[in-house]
């Protein structure tokens, strides 16, 4: 894309997203806490959109959480990132897609450092070669997984069975978009819409029939804060920031929150449970929470996937109020079963937060 070409209009806020053939880098947080999400994403990219995406067994964490918590030197994460790019190179790919927003910020940061400081790039190449024997080519295109869903939002819409619409009232559902800080706040030019007008999730809401909720703390951090969450003694920071957002969005009665960062999705879900148990305050309707979904989980619902195969029973906030509003057909009896249909028992119910 030539950003100076007037046909692209608001060029500074657009980004290049490759059309096919991707190397997929997984997220530590998403795999653990939303363990169906990446499988759903790969299925959408491969089988709904007919694209080629490579899922590599040899990949590792990018180490971003450790780096941002101050236990790793810059040179370490730089070399780990270089190893990830070397795996992409070895697999014969040029387009890198990562599932984690912390990782997306990390990859962007390393690419920017190498661009501005070629000597750091050479040092990294040397250390990587000496330690692992590997060599790498810098990706031609490096994007976040939500960028792909955004790019193909119309193609996905063409296949959907449901829309972000209240089936009874025919009104659009009110959807909060929460874009992870490290998606565009560090390097605005690398995010769709930049830091000022992030469109990567709001574009999904508009295309899939919902309406955006604009509220005062829309762009505030979820409060992960790395070491501010990892250490139990610091978690007041984390929950206070999520609470600030929830209090700010509550008067607008959102039906759904979507997030592109695995950490944000986790915190917006789990801190609702914690705030309910600590302060008897809930933010959804009738004592329930506001459902929080990742972009691929939302796409899966719209495409008619079984919500329990998509792992939505693993959210602490129940998703059933959303499913009912959208008129999604699901089997409540099926929620707590294993692969072979065996009933596994239900999770203990929280004392305050209502769950199905």
């Amino acid at each position: 894309m030539n950003k100076k070409d007037p046909k692209y209009g608001w060029a500074d806020y657009q980004k290049e997203i490759a059309d096919d053939h991707y190397y997929f880098a997984r997220s530590c947080i998403r795999q653990n806490f939303f363990p169906a999400a990446e499988g759903v994403f790969l299925n959408i990219i491969r089988n709904e959109l007919g694209k080629d995406i490579y899922d590599d067994a040899l990949q590792t964490t990018c180490t971003g959480i450790a780096y941002h918590s101050g236990i790793l030197p810059l040179e370490t994460i730089m070399t780990v990132v270089a190893r990830q790019f070397a795996l992409m190179t070895e697999a014969g790919y040029e387009n890198y897609v990562c599932s984690c927003v912390t990782s997306f910020g990390i990859y962007s940061e390393m690419l920017e450092i190498w661009e501005k400081n070629p000597e750091k790039l050479e040092e990294t190449r040397k250390v990587l070669k000496e330690t692992t024997g590997k060599e790498f080519v810098i990706p031609k295109n490096m994007v976040h997984a939500s960028d792909l869903i955004y790019k193909f939002r119309n193609e996905i819409k063409a296949k959907t069975k449901y829309r972000l619409v209240n089936k009874q009232s025919s009104e659009p559902l009110k959807v909060v978009d929460h874009v992870g800080c490290h998606y565009a706040k560090i390097f605005p030019a690398r995010g769709v819409g930049g830091a000022e007008f992030p469109e990567v999730l709001s574009g999904l809401i508009d295309t899939w029939g919902g309406t955006q909720v604009d509220y005062p703390e829309r762009r505030h951090c979820c409060g992960f804060g790395f070491r501010q969450y990892l250490i139990k003694a610091n978690r007041g920071y984390s929950i206070a920031n999520t609470k600030r957002k929830l209090e700010s969005m509550h008067p607008y009665h959102p039906d759904l929150i979507i997030a592109n960062c695995p950490g944000c999705t986790f915190f917006l879900d789990r801190w609702q449970y914690t705030i309910a148990e600590m302060e008897e305050k809930t933010y959804g309707e009738n004592g329930y929470g506001i459902p929080v979904l990742t972009y691929e989980e939302l796409a899966a619902l719209l495409l008619g996937y079984n919500p329990w195969e998509a792992g939505l029973q693993l959210h602490q906030v129940s998703v059933e109020p959303l499913l009912d509003k959208m008129g999604i057909v699901y089997n409540p009896e099926d929620k707590y079963k294993g692969k072979n249909g065996e009933y596994l028992g239900a999770p203990v119910k929280p004392e305050i937060l209502k769950v199905y």
Binding site: Q31, N32, P35, I71, G225, N234, E309
Partner: protein, 227 residues
């Protein structure tokens, strides 16, 4: 020493004390924390003041959201300055002089060791609701039934090959260890252990390996007040 750190050089370029970073900062809304003052302090190049920062809780309050990078009219990044100060605080052992700094031991022993053990920053087997109660009852349900649930959700839990929660191959773990050894991470881990052990001795708190000892529990759960 700070001038050698690329994060410091990129993060600071003639701060004009406008306070925009403080206005946007989530940490400043929660803690007694002001990124403008930190930026101003390091700009003075007063080594005594900088040493005080390295020994203080202050540099550990930042959440690294990097909202400051977006907004600074001078293109500065207080969050990067914090990274450089934290690195120096650990390298010099001064992290052990503050309550918040001492928490680095717990991060090293959880996330840091998880990377080398599993190839993931966090892995389901090592996460429980005792250390992370906000995970909620749904986490207990997942963890207690993880083979069956993860099979249903299409994961490859502890399996070979690719997939969600797959076992990281030995060759990848070996690569990570070699990279950690060659780039200073292993050395930083040793420094964190060394100064933490010395501090525990000084404070008279039992210190041991892993998570099952009083010093670890104290830094993780909150608060070893200095004498």
């Amino acid at each position: 020493m700070l001038q050698k750190d690329i994060r410091f050089r990129e993060g600071l370029n003639a701060c004009i004390d406008c306070g925009t970073c403080t206005a946007i900062c989530p940490a400043a809304q929660f803690y007694d924390y002001d990124p403008r003052i930190i930026t101003d302090t390091v700009q003075t190049r007063d080594n005594n003041k900088i040493e005080e920062l390295l020994k203080s809780d202050t540099i550990w309050y930042c959440g690294e959201c990097l909202s400051c990078k977006t907004r600074c009219p001078r293109g500065n990044t207080p969050g990067y300055i914090i990274q450089a100060l934290r690195a120096l605080s650990v390298e010099t052992g001064l992290f052990a002089e503050s309550e918040k700094g001492r928490q680095q031991l717990a991060i090293k022993r959880t996330v840091g060791e998880s990377i080398l053990k599993f190839g993931y920053c966090v892995y389901i087997d090592d996460v429980d609701t005792q250390m992370y109660p906000e995970q909620g009852p749904v986490w207990d349900w997942l963890k207690n039934n993880r083979e069956k649930i993860l099979e249903r959700t299409g994961a490859n839990y502890k399996g070979n090959g690719s997939g969600t929660l797959r076992l990281t191959p030995e060759e990848s773990l070996v690569d990570l260890k070699k990279i950690f050894d060659a780039t200073g991470a292993s050395q930083r881990f040793e420094i964190i252990e060394k100064y933490s052990k010395e501090k525990a001795k000084q404070l008279g708190i039992p210190f041991g390996k892993g998570k099952d000892n009083e010093y670890f529990e104290s830094v993780y759960e909150g608060g070893i007040e200095d004498e």
